[in-house]
């Protein structure tokens, strides 16, 4: 009787609950969706599968690998990463590099071709080389052209994993482009290019009053054939001495043909002339070199971030620290100095004087727009021009040549890489100088540009696309056959630019700082960078990712088991009653 009652009660309770149909909201954690893929085609998918398997084994259902849903994290497996591989979304990207090989190896991580140099000047090639497992051995790093070894460095490796920044110098003997190879023993190589230009660098020397400093700097330039110097010296109120073809006045248009403007006695400049010089630096990309011979004052101070100067007079002329000059056996020397006190963070020090605490900048360059303003605080350096290897003349020749070479042409074309393999994709960039853009009515008009690749097998158009920066266009070119291509770009306003592209078989490139780029991507997106040899940090990172919380409404009476329970209770009660003969 009791069992029958119990079963009946259960059946009635279930029936009542079914009629009531109560429901509950439950918050549950869902597995984190993670996408995993190889970072480059060169990396085998086997490593991807291996990493995925190991992560699934260690993290279980806390993560779910899927590319169908929007992932909460991305794992890139491979040795390199390029911007194209990166998703547009804002998700953390972790990287898994292949385990480091234990075999001795050398890689050229980075190597850059030097900027074009004037014919007869020294071009310096820089490269970063990484060696593994070569401790105790010496590598011969060679720069060669054809079969001729142009320069070399022997570097002894002192640790198992070591990086070495190498600088090799070479004087291109002829004007034009020369393909060279930087080789490390017979283990690694990279193809680079040296460009010697024959064009003369246009320099204007402007002296509102006669100035010894500017005069001797001008003489140093006039003695070098790579400079084409125009000069104007106002020797009196109504008299001037001209050399070459200087403009009658310092105006924006008159300064455009020049690469560098040297100003002696700059305190005599008028406000309008200072404005023209500012525009020359900011928009033309030229360099304004200010060579005062007295305490800085006047309108030209607005060209610089510093209007406060420390005046220093030393009993014995001081040899200034000038990078690169001392190695040539020359020294810039001065005894009367004006040292800028402000705006030094954004500056580049070209010459400094040692002091008890820290070196004080004497000749300083500040960026101004796309150009540069150089201030020389070595007020009486001209007095020592004949001493110490003619340091005065050599210093200014070097720095002014660098500045002139850095002045952009109307239309500048560049290709990456400069030496490519047949079939390789090359990026072409065309950059219009700001002076070629027309600003009117709050709008900037950019002239249209056309690019063609002219080679031994004909001429091909290159489609250029505007980039986010006004006046800059980019396009891609698929190289075909071996040879030299002339990438010619012309703008509607008449500006033209050319760049040469060498296509050679088996052209070798720097491997790039793969590990660095992996680390950079991981760090900048919030992920971690690990190697396949040890996934623990990645496991900890993925395990710590917040799982999504799913709110579910649970209605237990709608479950089939609820019906089964009701039927079982009701059927049991009925069966017991039948056995006892109760109806």
């Amino acid at each position: 009787m009791t069992m029958i009652a119990i079963l009946r009660g259960v059946a009635l309770t279930v029936a009542v609950l079914g009629l009531i149909d109560p429901s509950f909201t439950i918050h549950r954690l869902t597995p984190v969706p993670v996408e995993i893929r190889a970072s480059s085609a060169a990396d085998a998918t086997r490593l991807v599968a291996d990493v995925q398997q190991r992560l699934e084994r260690s993290l279980g259902d806390r993560i779910r690998f899927s590319s169908a849903v929007e992932p909460a994290a991305l794992v890139l497996v491979g040795s390199q990463v390029t911007p194209r591989m990166l998703p547009t979304g804002d998700i953390p990207i972790s990287t898994v590099a292949p385990p480091a090989s234990s075999a001795p190896s050398v890689r050229i991580l980075a190597a850059t071709s030097p900027s074009p140099v004037p014919l007869g000047w020294t071009a310096t090639f820089e490269a970063t080389i990484e060696a593994s497992g070569l401790r105790g051995t010496t590598s011969r790093i060679v720069l060669q052209q054809g079969e001729a070894e142009l320069a070399h460095v022997d570097h002894p490796w002192t640790s198992d994993r070591e990086r070495f920044d190498v600088r090799l110098s070479y004087v291109p003997p002829v004007e034009g482009s020369s393909a060279v190879t930087l080789r490390v023993d017979r283990r690694a190589s990279v193809d680079l290019r040296a460009v010697a230009i024959g064009r003369r660098l246009k320099v204007l020397v402007h002296e509102p009053r006669p100035s010894w400093t500017a005069a001797f700097a001008r003489r140093a330039l006039e003695g070098d054939a790579i400079f084409e110097v125009a000069s104007l010296v106002r020797s009196s109120r109504s008299l001037s001495v001209r050399g070459g073809s200087p403009p009658p006045a310092l105006t924006v248009d008159a300064l455009t043909p020049f690469d560098v403007v040297l100003v002696g006695a700059p305190e005599e400049l008028r406000a309008a002339e200072v404005d023209a010089l500012r525009s020359f630096a900011r928009r033309r990309g030229g360099t304004v070199v200010l060579l005062p011979d007295r305490r800085p004052s006047g309108a030209y101070l607005h060209l610089m971030p510093s209007s406060s100067f420390e005046e220093m007079l030393v009993d014995v002329p001081a040899d200034l620290e000038t990078p690169g000059l001392k190695t040539a056996g020359a020294t810039l020397r001065a005894s009367e100095l004006a040292i800028p006190r402000e705006g030094l963070r954004a500056s580049e020090t070209l010459a400094s004087i040692a002091s008890s605490k820290e070196a004080k900048p004497v000749v300083v360059a500040w960026p101004s727009g796309i150009g540069t303003v150089v201030f020389s605080g070595a007020l009486d350096a001209w007095r020592y021009r004949a001493t110490m290897g003619e340091g005065f003349g050599r210093f200014w020749r070097a720095r002014i040549a660098e500045a002139a070479l850095a002045a952009p042409p109307r239309l500048q074309v560049s290709v990456r890489p400069e030496v490519a393999r047949p079939g390789e994709e090359v990026t072409v960039q065309a950059r219009l100088r700001p002076t070629e853009l027309v600003d009117a009515g709050g709008q900037t008009s950019v002239p249209a540009v056309r690019a063609t690749a002219v080679g031994p097998h004909g001429e091909h158009a290159i489609r250029l696309w505007p980039t986010a920066e006004a006046g800059v266009f980019e396009g891609r070119l698929q190289t075909s056959a071996v040879g030299r291509l002339d990438i010619h770009v012309a703008a509607d306003n008449g500006a033209v630019g050319d760049e040469l592209l060498d296509v050679v078989p088996d052209a070798a490139h720097a491997e790039g700082a793969g590990r660095d780029s992996l680390q950079l991507v991981a760090t900048s997106t919030g992920g971690v960078a690990v190697t396949a040899a040890d996934l623990t940090p990645l496991e900890q990172f993925l395990g710590a990712l917040p799982s999504a919380e799913a709110a579910e409404t649970w209605s237990p009476t709608r479950s089939i088991w609820f019906v089964v329970a009701f039927v079982a209770a009701a059927g049991g009660e009925w069966t017991l009653r039948r056995r006892r003969g109760q109806l």
């Binding site: 007869g120 310096t124 142009l150 003997p173 001495v241 705006g343 500040w366 101004s368 070097a398």
Partner: protein, 686 residues
């Protein structure tokens, strides 16, 4: 010995056998000594360019003569007696029996027959037991002579020279030096350089010279061995070649640096036989003469003193004479009288090349009077004829103060304008004297004396204001802006110092007006210091002015204002560094040739021409000589393995590159791509 002595025959035979072996031993010994001597003689003669036949003949002849002399002189070493002694030495138990027997064989009548027979019987028995090979072993002399003969053969065949060359090559490879290349075959030359006789240097002879260094004026005698005909050039100038026996001879006076190009006349001769020999001619430098004491100009109060002059002179080859010359200037105004003379020097010869000299300038004996001046210098010459070797020291002055001229004892003679400093100095002196005695004089006397000094001070100050071009309205303002005059910084500094001195003079006048020596003295002293600074710098500046830059005061204010106009300056064309240019051209050709050089397919004449071009750039420069030598080594490296040739090429490129980049600086890398970004960031930070 009677022939009937039956025992004499075997004994004599054994002695003869041993005697022959003794002779052989001596022969081997002499060969052991003579063979290497013959080999050395053969080698030396061939090194001296004697023909192989002559050298070999001489070597063999020496050996034969030595053997013959040796064998003739020591014939006693293989006699029967020597053989008997040899047997005795190996068989001491015979107790001189064998020696006795040998002696009896020569002097049979010294013993009775039966004794003699018995001696011979026993000696024969002993000799029969002593085998010749044991008594006189030949193995050691034979072995020594064989080794000696082998050494001689090695010397004669040149194997030793090749082995030494191979060792040298390996050593050079080990230390990374340039790879030596074989000397061109069939070329042997001897250069004899005879310096000029006055140098006292002895003639120098160089065998197969790589380069010739000589003093200017030397004489070169170059002998090229062999019957081959040669054409010789000194640079582009042909040099006469004379035949002298089997050799060619050139004679050349060496007056300038250059190079000898020695080429075979036969058209079918190997291009690798061409030789380039740089000739560096060093000029004979003139003597360097310095006056060590007094070493400065002097202004003296009178002519009573005697000036001790000390001088030193040096020359690279030797001095010949040294003397002190002077010019005495006397008079005043426009009536000056000049008299020249010479004073002998007391010379101490430290060495033929370095002399020290002393002299005494007795001013009174020279007739010096107030206002007179003497200008002196030391003149010397080296051994060269004519005035080529003449040298003169710096010139110094000694001036006797004139009437009214102030001079401190031995004070350095100032230039004209510096005398103003002395005037101010005199004011200081007067002030100091007055200050020392002011307590002992009356107030009125003090005022009177101070008034006199103040007048002088005003006069001196007026002079300086006049010197500055007029009245200085505001001395402070003038001092502040004294650097505005565009006369050069040093001049400006001097002017500034003068203005400062004028200020001090003004303060001194204020002190004098207040009748206070204490207030006047410090600014008066400061004025002197400022003037000395000003004129000291100015004097230095004026002395270093080149002649063409000196200002001609007579042309001042002679122009017309209306004629002043703009001027267009002609810019002279820049002069390119010819050596860098030549190096770049050479580098370009080397790079172009590099694949063919590695494959060893370059025409040797091309490399010879390049080597000559390199030498022609500057024959005396060691850099160009090194380049030329490297190119010649490349030319002659046909039999060298490709890696070694690559090393030679790398060495050559390296030395050429060093020259190509002289006078240049490396351009620093340009961050052109990021300039705009850096500029924008800098603008933001302002």
């Amino acid at each position: 010995v009677s022939p009937h002595d039956a025992t004499v025959g075997p004994f004599a035979d054994r002695l003869a056998s041993i005697s022959r072996r003794l002779r052989l031993v001596e022969l081997f010994r002499v060969v052991t000594v003579a063979a290497p001597i013959g080999g050395v003689i053969d080698l030396v003669l061939r090194r001296q360019a004697w023909s192989s036949v002559v050298a070999n003949g001489a070597g063999i002849g020496v050996v034969v003569v030595m053997v013959a002399i040796w064998m003739l002189r020591i014939g006693s070493r293989w006699t029967a007696a020597a053989a008997a002694r040899a047997i005795e030495s190996t068989r001491p138990e015979s107790r001189n029996l064998v020696i006795t027997a040998e002696e009896l064989s020569r002097y049979p009548d010294r013993a009775r027959p039966w004794i003699r027979t018995r001696v011979f019987e026993q000696a024969t028995a002993i000799a029969a037991e002593a085998l010749p090979s044991a008594v006189v072993p030949l193995s050691r002399p034979v072995a020594l002579s064989a080794v000696s003969a082998l050494a001689a053969v090695i010397l004669v065949s040149g194997l030793a020279g090749r082995a030494v060359a191979a060792v040298q090559q390996r050593a050079q490879q080990a230390i990374g030096a340039t790879v030596s290349t074989p000397r061109p075959a069939g070329f042997s030359a001897t250069a004899t350089i005879t310096p000029p006789s006055y140098t006292g240097e002895i003639a120098k002879t160089v065998q197969n010279p790589d380069r010739i260094d000589a003093v200017q004026g030397s004489h070169l005698r170059l002998t090229i061995d062999g019957r081959a005909a040669w054409r010789v050039r000194f640079g582009a100038d042909p040099v006469a070649v004379q035949r002298e026996g089997d050799s060619s001879l050139i004679e050349l006076p060496l007056t300038r640096s250059g190079y000898l190009a020695i080429e075979p006349l036969q058209s079918d001769a190997s291009p690798t036989r061409r030789r380039l020999v740089p000739v560096t001619v060093a000029p004979d430098r003139a003597p360097t003469i310095r006056i060590d004491a007094p070493g400065k100009d002097l202004l003296l109060p009178n002519a009573k003193s005697t000036i001790a002059v000390a001088a030193s002179a040096a020359d690279d080859f030797g001095l010949r004479s040294l003397e002190l010359r002077y010019t005495r200037a006397s008079g005043s105004g426009e009536n000056f009288d000049f008299q020249e003379g010479t004073i002998p020097l007391d010379i101490a010869h430290e060495s033929p090349r370095a002399w020290k000299a002393r002299a005494a300038l007795a001013l009174a004996q020279l007739g010096m009077g107030p206002g007179d001046a003497i200008i002196y210098r030391v003149v010397g010459r080296d051994g060269r004829p004519g005035d080529a070797g003449l040298a003169v020291s710096d010139t110094f002055f000694v001036e006797i103060a004139g009437p009214g001229q102030v001079a401190l004892e031995g004070f350095e003679l100032p230039p004209d304008r510096e005398r103003y400093a002395l005037s101010q100095q005199m004011i200081v002196l007067k002030l100091e004297r007055l200050r020392a005695k002011e307590k002992s004089i009356t107030r009125a006397a003090l005022e009177e004396e101070i008034a006199g000094i103040a007048a002088e001070q005003r006069a001196v100050r007026s002079n300086f204001i006049f010197l500055m071009g007029g009245h200085v309205e505001d001395e402070e303002e003038e001092a502040e802006h004294s650097d505005e005059i565009a006369e050069g910084r040093l001049e400006n500094t001097a002017r500034k110092e003068i203005v400062t001195a004028i200020q001090h003079m003004s303060r001194a006048e204020v002190g004098l007006a207040a009748v206070s020596t204490g207030a006047a003295l410090p600014p008066a002293r400061s004025a002197v210091e400022a003037l000395q600074r000003a004129f000291g710098r100015n004097r230095y500046f004026l002395r270093t002015l080149p002649v063409r830059s000196r200002v001609d005061p007579s042309r001042r204010l002679t122009g017309e204002m209306k004629d002043a106009s703009d001027w267009t300056r002609e810019i002279p064309p820049a002069v390119q560094d010819s050596q860098s240019l030549a190096a770049r051209r050479l580098l370009e050709r080397l790079i172009a040739l590099s694949p063919a050089l590695r494959a060893n397919t370059v025409d040797p004449q091309v490399l010879t021409a390049m080597a000559e071009e390199a030498l022609a750039v500057d024959p005396a420069a060691t850099e160009w000589q090194a380049i030329s030598k490297s190119l010649m080594q490349l030319r002659d490296s046909g039999n060298v393995a490709a890696p070694e040739r690559s090393k030679l090429l790398a060495n050559t490129v390296s030395v050429v590159t060093l020259l190509a980049q002289r006078q240049t600086l490396a351009a620093r890398p340009s961050d052109r791509a990021n300039r705009a970004l850096r500029g924008a960031w800098a603008e933001e930070r302002r």
